[in-house]
């Protein structure tokens, strides 16, 4: 029989339900700007009647069924891939935008230095015995060598900067992988005790998103509720409640730049990782360092080596003012590897401008500049690439520029895609302050109504108790 005390009892339960609704709205409002937070809903239900009274079921008020999250699995599944792709192209593009050595006007000054060198040879060819012009020719040869050195060092500095950034990326990825493994464990424990650990799920989602952005790893859920993170080749960064560990090691075969290694989730390894196995920021940084910048550096080395050797080949046939011959003008080294970085004027010639080979024979010094005219010819001579120095330099700059331009466009495009999919997730899971204020007010009103019920019931009890 539904007595007045049972009304008070059900009101008490209903008050609790509405208080939970208000608390959920409050939680949502508090996390309106928390990254990865998905808004929660307190789902209330009418409590089923306990018994039939005079042919009718009297209900028992309201209770909290569950607190659920607003999520769209379809949209969320697209986010890690979008984040990885956007971070890849953004990191790759940013690394190239930071290199100014190949700027057509300015930069390392390669264009001007090469032009000035040949210009000074032209002036000297008209007056080969002039010591001042000889000094100028050597000075411009030094400037040209130094311009190659600067360009090479600038590209190398960019690669070293990527190494430094990679160190931070790998450290953060390791922390995130360990966090995800730990959260997998905590979520399993929480679920075993009943209910959905919404905030732990949010934390794990934020961590998997970030790890995807850093490494390109894809989240793979399993039936037990764990999320593993797999790289492109299937190597696990996180496997259930175990995390792999990335490490960096200087690679002598790659100029001492850092190579990535991975100690597997079962503790075996470390094994060497390839650039192609990474996406995200790490993949973009590795691609910038080991493909685009490496290609530019090698093209620069080839140009320095070929041009230096072409100049030397002709200079060796020229005769110095003392009648000697067979000297190199530039030091290029034995192979093209690193040639731009070490290009220099031969120290013997550098110390004595009269040793510059200008004449075609010992008998025609000092006024013969025929060898210099031949030397000038190297400016338009086809090098090993089939292009002359100007063409090779233009090609190098255009090729680098095309990569930079393509990646900037890709970064913009991938960023827009990520913005779109993130906005779609936000549309489903994000917190609307207006909505939550309404929900809060709604819970408050219900709370006040139930309080009124309690007050009325109390008055009814007072009335009963005052009967004499």
């Amino acid at each position: 029989m539904a007595d007045l005390f049972s009304i008070l009892s059900q009101a008490s339960g209903s008050l609790s339900a509405h208080r939970n609704s208000a608390a959920t709205a409050s939680h949502n409002l508090s996390n309106a700007n928390t990254p990865g937070f998905a808004r929660q809903r307190a789902e209330l239900q009418a409590m089923l009647p306990a018994e039939m009274i005079n042919g009718g079921f009297i209900g028992r008020g309201a209770g909290l069924l569950t607190v659920s999250q607003a999520r769209d699995r379809f949209i969320e599944a697209q986010i890690p891939g979008s984040m990885g792709q956007a971070a890849f192209s953004s990191a790759h593009s940013a690394a190239l935008q930071g290199v100014s050595a190949l700027d057509p006007d300015g930069g390392a000054g390669l264009t001007k230095a090469i032009g000035d060198f040949y210009g000074s040879l032209r002036a000297l060819s008209q007056n080969p015995s002039d010591p001042g012009l000889r000094q100028v020719a050597l000075s411009t040869a030094r400037s040209m060598s130094q311009a190659f050195n600067r360009a090479s060092q600038s590209i190398e500095a960019a690669k070293s900067g990527i190494d430094a950034k990679l160190t931070g990326t790998v450290a953060e990825a390791n922390t995130l992988a360990a966090n995800i493994a730990d959260l997998n464990n905590q979520i399993q424990v929480a679920r075993a005790s009943g209910g959905e650990p919404n905030d732990l799920l949010d934390a794990r989602l934020a961590a998997t998103d970030r790890l995807a952005a850093l490494t390109g790893a894809k989240p793979v859920p399993d039936a037990k509720g764990n999320v593993s993170m797999l790289l492109a080749n299937g190597t696990a960064l996180v496997n259930e409640n175990r995390a792999a560990k990335l490490s960096l090691l200087p690679n002598a075969a790659n100029g001492g730049h850092l190579a990535v290694q991975l100690t597997r989730t079962d503790g075996t390894g470390p094994m060497a990782m390839q650039q192609s196995e990474f996406g995200g920021e790490a993949g973009g940084l590795l691609a910038a360092r080991d493909t685009t910048l490496d290609k530019a550096a090698k093209s620069l080395d080839t140009l320095a080596f070929d041009l230096g050797n072409a100049i030397n080949l002709v200079h060796r046939t020229g005769f110095a003012l003392d009648g000697t011959t067979g000297r190199d003008l530039l030091v290029t080294g034995a192979t093209s590897a690193g040639a731009a970085g070490r290009l220099a004027v031969d120290p013997t010639v550098d110390a004595n401008p009269s040793l510059l080979g200008a004449a075609s024979s010992a008998g025609t010094v000092p006024g013969d500049g025929t060898a210099l005219l031949a030397l000038i010819g190297t400016e338009t001579q086809a090098l090993s690439t089939g292009l002359d120095a100007s063409g090779a330099l233009s090609n190098l700059i255009s090729d680098f520029g095309a990569s930079a331009s393509r990646l900037a466009a890709a970064a913009q495009h991938d960023g827009a895609l990520l913005d779109n999919v993130t906005a779609m997730r936000e549309s489903v899971s994000g917190v609307s302050i207006d909505e939550e204020m309404i929900n809060l007010t709604k819970a408050q009103r219900s709370f006040e109504a139930v309080m009124k019920v309690m007050k009325t019931t109390d008055e009814m009890l007072q009335t009963l108790l005052s009967l004499k």
Partner: protein
């Protein structure tokens, strides 16, 4: 579509950021006057700029060398002109004093003038431009003619690059023009012989020297023609180099530099867009239930 507060703020961040970036880029372009700074700004143009810059420097250097060679040729021509004048004067004297009416004393006096003309020719042939003796061939560090008129230079002919890979001879062989190497007339030898004939009052000797003087004048005239034709070639080469350099400069400007009107228009548009973006964002923040409850 459901709109949340965070999406409003993130969209504002994104949109204002993009508008500000466009405004910054437009400002940079308008203030620097350049539209290509990094190769990624326009890859094809960046490569061409490097090539055109080298062309600009190359043609400038060719023009400099050609102009310097032309100046030397002008000195060469001037010296040869003076030599030609000296030979003409010597011929006048020879014609005049071959007449038997002149006395031995008069011929001795003329011999002194011939000796002076000899020295003039030697001095002209030892003309120096800067540190170089222009008639010395490749041995241009010392006077090519001794006081006795012996040629000490060599047969080297200097060349200058008048276009990439194209060369032009820019010196006159004094051993040919003056000393008669290769079957010509020894001009200084002829003057010496004339002087000796004058001193010896040898009318036949004086008459004999007339042929040599005529041949010498033609020889010098031929050398001047050679220098003159080289100067014409160099003038054309200088003009062509200047045109090449100017074309390269214009090409670089077209590739690298921003159009002033277009830049100003782009800047105004970008600033207007930024203003609109800021206004719209600020208004979207204002309407909230928080302010109404």
């Amino acid at each position: 579509m459901r709109v949340t507060d965070r999406s409003i703020f993130e969209a504002a961040n994104r949109n204002v950021g993009a508008a500000r970036e466009r405004a910054e880029l437009a400002t940079q372009e308008a203030s620097s006057g350049l539209r290509v700074i990094h190769p990624g700004d326009d890859a094809a143009a960046a490569g061409q700029i490097a090539g055109r810059r080298l062309d600009e420097t190359r043609y400038g250097a060719i023009k400099g060398a050609v102009d310097a060679a032309n100046d030397e040729l002008a000195s060469t021509d001037g010296a040869l002109d003076a030599v030609g004048a000296a030979l003409s004067r010597a011929r006048e004297l020879a014609v005049q004093l071959a007449n038997p009416t002149y006395s031995a004393a008069q011929r001795a006096s003329a011999a002194e003038e011939i000796d002076g003309l000899f020295k003039t020719v030697v001095a002209q042939m030892n003309t120096r431009v800067g540190q170089r003796y222009v008639f010395g061939g490749f041995k241009d560090g010392a006077p090519p003619f001794s006081a006795a008129g012996v040629y000490l230079g060599d047969p080297g002919v200097r060349q200058v690059e008048i276009a990439p890979g194209v060369r032009q001879a820019v010196s006159v062989r004094a051993d040919v023009a003056i000393s008669g190497v290769g079957g010509g007339t020894d001009v200084l030898g002829t003057l010496s012989a004339l002087s000796a004939a004058m001193t010896a009052n040898n009318i036949a000797g004086i008459q004999n020297s007339l042929n040599g003087l005529d041949a010498g004048i033609i020889q010098i005239s031929s050398a001047r023609s050679q220098a003159g034709s080289s100067m014409v070639v160099l003038d054309a080469a200088s003009a062509a180099s200047r045109a090449g350099r100017d074309a390269a400069t214009t090409s670089v400007a077209g590739l690298a530099e921003a159009d002033t009107i277009e830049s100003a228009s782009k800047l105004a548009l970008a600033q207007r867009a930024l203003d609109a973006s800021l206004t719209a964002s600020a208004r979207s923040f204002q309407l909230s239930l928080l302010d109404k409850l």
